[in-house]
């Protein structure tokens, strides 16, 4: 890296005044200039260093606020009624309040990833040393940390170098959070600029976490052939003791695998996971298994299959201890961020902890030592499994029928259900002995359990749904490719040209949580549609799991059907949530490796390049968390549009372009300085789709970029028009906005398109060398 501690050591120094012996002085850290690339304009950017770029984006992509609450209750002036954009006692209006809440959400998200990264780096340094090298792909990956290089202007070479990056992130995060205090920022667009800043530092934090764990734990290193691992409820062997790991921070799960390996127990016990810890433990050992996304927590625990539940941090149900207690499965909390009210037994003798858990003396323990978690979890699983005999709380069919008879048809369950599922009629049918309607609910149930808490009769509605769908649930056996990590530099060299020229129609990344409107199958359907169309399809997190939960006629799952290469028609899982920067990193590396743009601390130029040339779109179809908000905002600042599912509208504001406002869609031609109309490419920066069909058409449209060659634009238009005709039943009416010259028109659709162009009085226009940054104009107009 280019920044290191200044350290001076003097053995002996004599002067008239004094004699110094064995003097050592450390004076912090200074830049070390061994990296030939010049430092760009914004190393370690502060809160306002990229504000001009943000405002450029926000001028085109204006916030559309959708308040979730009409009042502000964040200080004792309040509650203040902000209805109709009124101002509260502090002077803040509704628009600024909404962007303030978005900033708060993004700070929470960024803090979660950065805290995660700090914990991991500290743990790995303790285990492997500060000098452990950052190797994320050997000779195939020279640009090991594209986001960090871009933002900070440094090249991390060792685990210790990552501490400097984290220092910067924590500093920025503190400032960002302070801005949400009463009486700070007052302008909504300045809040939005800070939202982008939070997203950017979040991307760096995630990158730090993932490259640290890849390097230290030996996860797949940019490997397109990363092993296929088992996925699904039915993949778990219930004849063995089962340890379930939930969360995101993998060291405790690795402690379990290591203890099993050291004691010859691999194969004797099933180690499986939910959410991102599942991804990361399979990256460490592909014999571990993934049960499914976050929504599977209740159904899997209640099934009684897990004998021990180990939780680390993030996305874990707050009532997990209660649920584990119901099935008599001991719980081990393994993170200081999620203690679950349990006694800290970190420094106790493992024999004593095991004895207490096995005897049921305590329902769970807190152990803040991953190795000790490993030993205790394994020993407890072995001893508890024969006693528990997979004790479950899922009722039998008769109990469901009898329980359903208590249903009053009051609709409280349905009114509590995020997806408005028709539970009352399903209960009525169940009371008559027909469980099929309950079974059908399973596919769209997000597993939140709100229906049960709403029920005045205390009917365990969710457990009834699980019982009705038991056969289907047990048949869930799929494959997912273990998270491969980074994209290789050589892959970027091969596809950079076709992507920038538009010949590969786009890069579509399915990421994020599992708050789906109509079940996870929509992710698999969309991912396969775009892979079939030769887009590059990338996945991560819970969405990567959902993308794998499909089988074709031959029983093959999507990851078996499509290649794991970063290439046209590929379907590649980069890994867990903190692996998302590999997707951003691929876009950055296209600018850097393919287009030879300087990367180092050169954020604005690279983002401008990506916005205008790299047809990448993020899709967070089930986005739920604050982390998803900050991940999305990191992509926005980088010029990558993000589509969310309908629940994503609850993030309170969209960033929408107006295709009907011609003046919004001019860029500079860097060759001449002329301002050139380029059409709404890409039309939106953040946008919630109502249905899968709408999203698919929009994804194809958002992949268009001003820089597309005529061949590339024709290919992209072909997909857009084809999807539009199939899903909307008609030709798109806005084709004239995307056709720049007649060479853009797909040959097979020429007649239909020409008719529209004539009707719209379309005129040919030039294709510029596009940029939004005046400083990049090479020759100014006289």
């Amino acid at each position: 890296m280019s920044k290191k501690a200044f350290h001076m050591k003097i053995k002996e120094l004599k002067s008239d005044a004094a004699v110094l012996k064995d003097l050592e002085i450390s004076v912090g850290r200074i830049f070390e200039e061994t990296w030939e690339e010049p430092v760009g304009p914004t190393p370690f950017p502060g809160l306002v260093d990229l504000r001009n770029w943000d405002m450029t984006l926000l001028k085109r992509y204006k916030p559309f606020y959708l308040p979730f609450c009409d009042v502000c209750c964040l200080c004792t002036f309040g509650k203040c009624d902000l209805t109709g954009n009124k101002r509260g006692a502090c002077g803040l209006n509704m628009a600024a309040q909404q962007s303030r809440i978005v900033l708060l959400a993004c700070c929470i998200g960024a803090a979660t990833h950065i805290g995660h990264a700090r914990h991991l780096v500290e743990h790995l340094i303790e285990k492997f040393g500060r000098r452990h090298p950052i190797d994320v792909g050997g000779v195939n990956v020279e640009v090991e940390a594209p986001v960090t290089r871009l933002v900070c202007g440094i090249r991390p070479k060792t685990l210790g170098d990552l501490e400097d990056v984290l220092d910067y992130l924590e500093n920025q995060l503190t400032h960002l959070l302070s801005i949400t205090h009463t009486g700070q920022e007052g302008n909504n667009l300045d809040f939005e600029s800070k939202v982008f800043h939070a997203g950017m530092i979040d991307q760096v934090g995630m990158e730090v976490a993932d490259i640290a764990q890849i390097a230290a734990y030996g996860f797949p290193k940019a490997d397109p052939e990363a092993p296929l691992v088992e996925l699904g409820f039915g993949a778990i062997d219930i004849n063995k003791p089962v340890i379930l790991c939930i969360g995101h921070n993998v060291p405790p799960a690795i402690g379990i695998v290591d203890y099993m390996t050291e004691n010859g127990l691999m194969g004797e016990i099933e180690v499986c996971g939910l959410c991102c810890t599942a991804h990361d433990v399979t990256r460490y050992n592909p014999k571990a298994k993934i049960v499914g996304p976050i929504s599977w927590q209740l159904r899997f625990v209640r099934s009684g299959v897990p004998d021990v539940v180990v939780v680390d941090e993030q996305c874990i149900r707050a009532d997990i201890l209660n649920e584990a207690m119901k099935v008599k499965a001991p719980l081990i909390a393994a993170s200081e961020k999620n203690c679950q009210g349990l006694e800290d037994r970190t420094h106790d003798d493992p024999d004593k902890i095991v004895e207490d858990l096995v005897s049921g003396k305590v329902p769970g323990v807190l152990i803040l030592d991953p190795e000790k978690v490993g030993e205790v979890a394994v020993r407890v699983a072995l001893e508890v499994a024969p006693k528990r005999k997979k004790f479950k709380v899922i009722p039998d069919v008769n109990d469901v029928i009898e329980g359903a008879k208590r249903c009053r048809q009051c609709n409280q369950c349905r009114r509590a259900c995020p997806n408005d599922l028709p539970i009352p009629p399903a209960m009525k049918a169940a009371a008559e002995g027909n469980l099929s309607p309950l079974d059908e609910l399973y596919d769209e149930c997000i597993g939140c359990g709100r229906c049960e808490h709403a029920c005045p009769e205390n009917i365990p509605v969710h457990s009834f749904i699980i019982k009705a769908a038991e056969k289907k649930m047990k048949a869930e056996t799929f494959k997912v490719r273990a998270g491969r990590g980074a994209i290789q530099d050589v892959e970027i060299r091969e596809v950079g040209g076709p992507i920038v020229l538009g010949e590969i129609p786009g890069v579509v990344a399915f990421v994020g949580c599992a708050n789906y409107p109509k079940g996870g199958k929509e992710i698999a359907e969309m991912a396969m549609e775009f892979a079939k169309r030769r887009y590059i399809v990338v996945t991560s997190g819970c969405a990567a799991m959902s993308a794998g939960m499909y089988k074709d006629e031959e029983g093959k799952t999507p990851y078996e059907i499509y290649s794991g290469r970063f290439d046209a028609g590929g379907l590649l899982n980069v890994g867990s949530c903190v692996s998302n920067p590999h997707i951003a990193g691929a876009a950055i590396k296209i600018a850097s490796i393919f287009a030879k743009r300087n990367l180092r601390a050169n954020y604005e130029e690279i983002a401008d390049y990506i916005l205008n040339r790299v047809g990448a779109v993020g899709v967070a179809w089930g986005a739920m968390s604050q982390k998803a908000a900050s991940i999305a905002s990191g992509f926005w600042r980088l010029g990558v549009p993000v589509v969310v599912g309908p629940h994503g509208i609850k993030y309170r504001r969209m960033l929408l372009g107006r295709a009907d406002k011609e003046e919004d869609w001019y860029v500079y031609d860097a060759r001449t300085g002329e301002k050139v109309y380029v059409g709404p490419t890409p039309e939106h920066l953040f946008y919630a789709a109502e249905t899968k069909e709408e999203a698919m058409v929009m994804i194809a449209k958002l992949c268009m970029r001003p820089n597309d060659t005529t061949k590339g634009r024709a290919i992209k238009l072909t997909h857009y028009i084809d999807l539009h005709k199939r899903l909307f039943g008609t030709m798109p009416e806005d084709i004239h906005l995307f056709v720049r010259t007649l060479a853009d028109v797909p040959v097979t659709m020429k007649d239909e398109i020409m008719e529209i162009l004539k009707e719209k009085e379309w005129k040919e226009r030039t294709i510029p060398d596009p940029t939004l940054l005046p400083r990049l104009i090479r020759k100014r107009k006289e």
């Binding site: 995020p418 509208i649 919630a688 058409v697 909307f728």
Partner: protein, 177 residues
């Protein structure tokens, strides 16, 4: 059973809540009073079964009877076209929302902004948030929802009513327009 509570229990908004439409004639009067009404129809209109017809079939008749332009959201345009009806426009619901808050928008026909937007057929929480955006940032606009669920952010909303009652109301509205 008529309840003036949000359909999704926790979707409590704030001090300003929709006036409750107690009889369908209120909708008729509002539409007749409006100079430039617009009907925004979501994808659920083609899914909701009202007996022998879908909700969307009622909306086609309503549009034709009162000469109200329809904007179809999501992929609903295909359902209209299958019925031989061409909506005045189609676009994502967030797009129509962002245009309705803009006083300078020229409308689908270039004749200017609308003064009444009637919403129906979106997922409850989506329509809820769009109506919230309009309540706060489109002071020039009145909104009505024709859904059978109470939408507190609209200017006017039916309470939570049964499918049967809903169907009756729609028939009355179409008949009296």
């Amino acid at each position: 059973m008529a309840m003036t509570e949000p359909w999704q229990t926790a979707e409590i908004p704030g001090p300003k809540k929709a006036l409750v439409i107690t009889k369908p004639e209120v909708v008729v009067a509002m539409i007749k009073k409006a100079k430039r009404p617009l009907l925004v129809v979501g994808h659920k209109a083609a899914e909701i079964d009202l007996g022998e017809e879908k909700l969307i079939d009622y909306l086609v008749r309503l549009s034709q009877k009162a000469n109200i332009p329809i904007v179809a959201t999501a992929h609903t345009v295909s359902e209209f076209l299958k019925r031989g009806f061409k909506p005045a426009g189609y676009m994502p619901v967030v797009n129509i929302g962002s245009r309705l808050v803009d006083p300078e928008w020229e409308g689908l026909d270039g004749k200017g902004q609308y003064d009444l937007a009637i919403f129906v057929g979106m997922p409850y929480y989506m329509e809820w948030t769009i109506l919230s955006g309009l309540k706060h940032f489109a002071q020039h606009l009145k909104t009505i929802t024709l859904d059978n669920h109470y939408h507190p952010h609209a200017s006017w909303s039916f309470p939570n009513i049964s499918l049967e009652k809903w169907k009756e109301n729609l028939k009355v509205i179409i008949e009296k327009l």
